[in-house]
């Protein structure tokens, strides 16, 4: 085998050099998204003090953290994939034991004075662990069902724990995320078809094991007007808010649904409805475009990476972000059942922002170390 001599850029040691390699355009997109959050939270609070200022300060801190993680050598991150996976599963077990209940489910845990949902961290850990697994796999080995079985179990373990919290929405998102990473790694498409069929058979079974509030969510979703003041209220008011926005919106700080508190949780899960009300279809569609730029920017970083781990990690993290955005928007529009998923970097709330920016830090590390190859040194 003839190996072409090749100029291999050594993993850059100097911080300044690494900073140079940071995708600053991507950072700009994230800053733009956080600014949208500032404007929307300003309106949600009626003044900047309530939500908007805290949001932007938190973003600044998270941005520094993201850049710091971006400087970390990708190989180190790969080595930490398994420990992080184990740590996250441990937290999920812990949250079932000592986590405190919020809105009918055990999801939250206090870590260093900061409340967080371990399931958020779990998704990033899962991406890293799966990427780590498939990084080592040859094209042929991926065709071997026995090789594919462990990653399926790696997905099912956290999904099962999250279901037990119970948090149906996050469990489904986690499963889809794992599936996306496996798809990207080259697992045969017919195997996915098999899983889909299996899921289709399992769904009615699963429904019978759902909690009452989860079933209520599904029935309400199917017919929101059936319970206009109960569970359906959120969806109806959110649709009214979006619909009354029209093409150009009612203007910043002018949305009646939001400002008269008809819109529930307008500063967190339903902030997209408020944006749609105040800035209309034009504003909401522009926000969707910005979100897609960030998602596709992640895919682009994945394509530019020269190692499989980086590719899978970048794709997984951008897919994770995509899931947040798409589930939140669909939920606000009443297209899928309400599921407590925030709009990343726009919704008020520290825990989600930190985990999302933690993910973007890893994504940035993939970009900074994009030219590391298997043969790098």
């Amino acid at each position: 085998m003839i190996v072409q001599p090749r100029l291999i850029r050594r993993p850059t040691v100097l911080i300044t050099a690494r900073l140079w390699r940071v995708n600053w355009f991507y950072v700009l997109l994230l800053c733009a998204l956080a600014s949208v959050g500032y404007v929307a939270l300003y309106s949600a609070g009626g003044a900047p003090e309530l939500y908007a200022n805290r949001h932007i300060i938190r973003f600044a801190v998270a941005l520094v953290m993201m850049l710091a993680i971006g400087m970390v050598d990708l190989r180190l991150i790969e080595r930490l994939a398994w420990p992080l996976y184990g740590f996250s599963v441990g937290l999920l077990v812990l949250v079932l034991r000592i986590g405190h209940v919020g809105k009918g489910a055990q999801r939250w845990i206090m870590i260093g004075g900061q409340e967080m949902q371990p399931s958020e961290l779990m998704k990033i850990a899962l991406v890293l662990a799966l990427a780590h697994w498939f990084h080592k796999a040859s094209h042929e080995r991926i065709g071997n069902p026995l090789f594919v079985l462990p990653p399926v179990l790696m997905i099912l373990l956290p999904v099962g724990l999250i279901l037990k919290e119970p948090n149906l929405g996050t469990a489904v998102i986690t499963a889809l995320l794992g599936g996306a990473v496996m798809l990207a790694s080259g697992v045969r498409l017919w195997k996915f078809a098999l899983v889909m069929i299996g899921a289709g058979i399992a769904a009615p079974l699963a429904y019978s094991h759902l909690h009452d509030y989860q079933r209520a969510r599904i029935t309400t979703f199917l017919n929101p007007e059936s319970d206009p003041l109960g569970a359906g209220y959120n969806i109806i008011q959110s649709r009214i808010a979006l619909g009354s926005g029209g093409m150009w919106g009612q203007g910043w700080l002018q949305g009646s649904q939001g400002h008269l508190n008809f819109l529930p949780e307008k500063q967190t899960d339903f902030i997209f409805a408020m944006i749609g009300e105040e800035f209309g279809f034009v504003g909401a569609a522009a926000l969707m475009a910005l979100l897609m730029l960030i998602v596709l920017g992640g895919v682009w970083i994945a394509l530019r990476s020269r190692n499989q781990f980086g590719r899978l990690v970048a794709l997984g993290i951008s897919f994770n972000f995509f899931m947040y955005a798409v589930v939140n928007i669909a939920m606000v529009m009443g297209a899928i059942p309400v599921g407590g998923v925030p709009l990343p970097l726009v919704s008020h709330g520290g825990s989600a922002m930190l985990t999302v920016m933690f993910g973007f830090g890893i994504l940035m590390s993939v970009h900074v170390h994009r030219d590391s190859t298997a043969e790098s040194d």
């Binding site: 040859s138 996306a180 798809l183 990207a184 979006l242 009646s256 508190n261 590719r311 928007i329 298997a374």
Partner: protein, 639 residues
């Protein structure tokens, strides 16, 4: 193969290239799916915001804006001079706003020290508190006095969340004096509210009797509305727009409040009824019934004990005797019999009939009130002496159907079109009426009807109408409403009424008889003569039996005043004055008053004297004093 170094040790470069290609395909697939998913959401968003946007905008608006009705103040009822008979009084109410009260029990204790708050009221407040949102005010006490209101205001710092608010309530300044005519209002029932949602507003009342009932449409007014911006829990953020309602129209009656009170003074404690009409146009100047009731009791709700007292009272205070009380007219009916006979030519003005004290018909003997008889009498003498035999004979000659037809033309035994509910028509019996009940008409029935006894029943209002018609020769209709909202109703002018189709000669003969009753030596009611010789009164007494007097009673020196009250005859008197130019007609009925001449005639005289002295009809030309409509009461707002 190169030794694996670093953690990115993987299969060879060839492998790596194949993986990169495979990844690129899958990544583009995923990217495309992501674009597709987001695009699908964008298309749904487009449908939601643009295609269906209008519908949702409307829903957002109806979320935001809450319309509330504003109660219009009820129109007043005033007399012909503008005296308020039914008005609106300011009603100070103490309200508690729970969310502004940190310690509700303490606030209620403090309140109870200033204004009495019974335990059951307190229990009601505590009950309601849990039914409503915390910013909705609860009524603590209504009808606060000025002192109580002031006490609460002064102690406001100790009463957090307790506010004083101004509403209105119906007020009847004369209490029972106009109760039967003016009527009363009561809180609306469910059927009322279903018909008119405005009535669901606190403090709204509907007319249940009298003018309050019959003129409801005018008095009611139309609702105003206010558009409020409310938030999700219904708290009012601001007022967007306000349309003031139309206050209810003032209804001016034909009544003269002063005359009414004079008449009531004359009637005193009797169970009686008196009606004063302007004989020329049918305006009801006084419409009295004793005893009466306090109409304001219905406003807040009548207690069981009070209701029992009213319904068990044999003098029936709740019945408007003037329009719904029915009595045999007795001798006051004789003018109608005479006019029927004159028209039928069964009697002429100069015909004489002998009265031996009785009339025998077959084996039945009909007695005259005078045991020894009146001898030969013409019409004038028959009326003057109220000779029964004379009218037995006249009735026999004329026949019941002609008498009934004449009575109806004069306003007797027919429902009169007056603006009051529950007006009764009474009865003039006819052959047909008797046949309908399965009996043949008996000539004896005609004979007793000739003196206003038997089946015949009329109301005091009909008697006053009858006298007004025969005294002025016009078919006036008694009416109570003179003007609504300052606009005069037709009927105030004598020319508004058609002329009675009876020759003036006949009417004059009857009037002369009535004049003789009072003003000629030997008449039955000289007691009714007026003190002022210039103005003369013409009248007719009547005593109507409640029970038949048997032969034994008659032979044993029967005296009706020895009977129990409820079996004594009713005493009646009808009159008009001045004789030469009739202006007023009066009818008085004293229930079980025994004899018309003794019990009713003096009352009729005093009432006529009051009418002539006050002369309300002379004020008919005056412009109505309606008062300033704005002066009444502020609109009961949305609070």
């Amino acid at each position: 193969m190169k030794p694996r170094r670093g953690s990115f040790a993987t299969p060879g470069r060839d492998q790596e290239a194949r993986r990169a290609t495979g990844f690129r395909r899958r990544a583009l697939l995923i990217g495309a799916a992501q674009i597709g998913a987001m695009g699908y959401l964008a298309s749904r968003l487009y449908r939601l915001q643009i295609t269906e946007g209008g519908r949702y905008a409307t829903m957002a608006e109806s979320n935001r804006v809450s319309g509330r009705l504003l109660a219009p103040p009820r129109g007043r009822i005033i007399d012909r001079a503008g005296v308020v008979l039914a008005g609106n009084r300011l009603n100070w109410r103490a309200l508690l706003i729970p969310e502004e009260t940190p310690d509700i029990a303490a606030a209620l204790d403090a309140f109870a020290q200033l204004v009495p708050l019974p335990d059951h009221e307190r229990a009601r407040v505590e009950r309601e508190m849990h039914k409503h949102r915390r910013f909705i005010p609860l009524m603590l006490r209504e009808f606060l006095s000025w002192e109580e209101m002031a006490r609460i205001e002064v102690n406001a710092p100790d009463l957090p969340g307790i506010v004083v608010d101004l509403g209105t309530t119906r007020e009847y300044p004369f209490g029972p004096k106009f109760a039967h005519m003016v009527g009363y209002v009561a809180p609306p029932n469910e059927a009322d509210v279903a018909a008119d949602p405005l009535l669901s507003l606190p403090g709204m009342r509907v007319g249940r009797a009298g003018i309050e009932f019959s003129q409801e449409a005018s008095l009611h007014g139309s609702a105003g509305s206010v558009q409020l911006e409310v938030n999700a829990v219904g708290r009012v953020i601001r007022e967007i727009s306000r349309t003031e309602g139309q206050r209810g129209a003032d209804v001016a009656l034909t009544i003269d409040a002063e005359l009414q009170q004079n008449v009531l003074d004359v009637l005193g404690d009797e169970s009686a009824s008196a009606v004063v009409l302007d004989a020329r146009n049918g305006e009801v100047l006084a419409l009295t019934t004793t005893p009466s009731f306090d109409p304001s009791l219905f406003n807040s709700g009548v207690s069981g004990a009070q209701w029992k007292e009213w319904t068990s009272n044999r003098a029936a205070p709740l019945i408007n005797k003037a329009t719904s009380g029915l009595y045999p007219p007795g001798s006051t009916f004789k003018m109608a019999v005479a006019l029927a006979a004159l028209e039928a030519r069964t009697l002429t003005v100069n015909d004489h009939i002998n009265c031996p004290g009785y009339l025998d018909l077959g084996d039945t003997r009909f007695h005259c009130w005078s045991k020894n008889g009146h001898g030969m009498l013409n019409l004038r003498g028959g009326l003057k002496n109220s000779c029964d035999v004379f009218f037995y004979e006249v009735a026999r000659r004329t026949g019941i159907d002609k008498i009934a037809a004449m009575s109806h033309r004069l306003g007797l035994g027919v429902p009169l079109d007056i603006e009051l509910p529950g007006v009764r028509g009474g009865l003039i019996p006819t052959r047909e009426w008797r046949m309908a009940r399965g009996h043949a008409w008996n000539i004896g029935d005609t004979i007793v009807t000739g003196i206003g006894q038997g089946y015949i029943q009329v109301s005091p209002l009909q008697l006053a109408t009858y006298v007004a018609r025969l005294s002025t020769g016009r078919i006036i209709q008694p009416h109570l409403v003179r003007a609504v909202d300052g606009r005069m109703r037709a009927g105030a002018d004598a020319a508004d009424w058609p002329v009675l189709d009876i020759p003036e000669r006949d009417l004059r003969a009857v009037r002369e008889g009535m004049w003789a009753v009072v003003n000629e030596q030997g008449g039955t009611a000289p007691i009714a003569r007026l003190a002022n010789p210039v103005v003369q009164l013409a009248g007719k007494t009547g005593s109507s039996q409640v029970r038949r007097v048997s032969r034994e009673q008659r032979e044993h020196g029967f005296k009706s005043e020895n009977l129990p009250w409820e079996f004594r005859p009713h005493a009646l008197f009808v009159c008009f004055a001045p004789y030469d130019q009739p202006r007023y007609s009066v009818a008085v009925v004293v229930e079980h008053g025994n004899a018309g001449a003794a019990a009713a005639a003096p009352l009729g005289r005093d009432i006529m004297q009051a009418a002539l002295r006050l002369d309300p009809a002379a004020r008919a030309g005056q412009k109505l004093a309606l008062g300033d409509p704005r002066a009444a009461v502020p609109t009961g707002g949305a609070r």
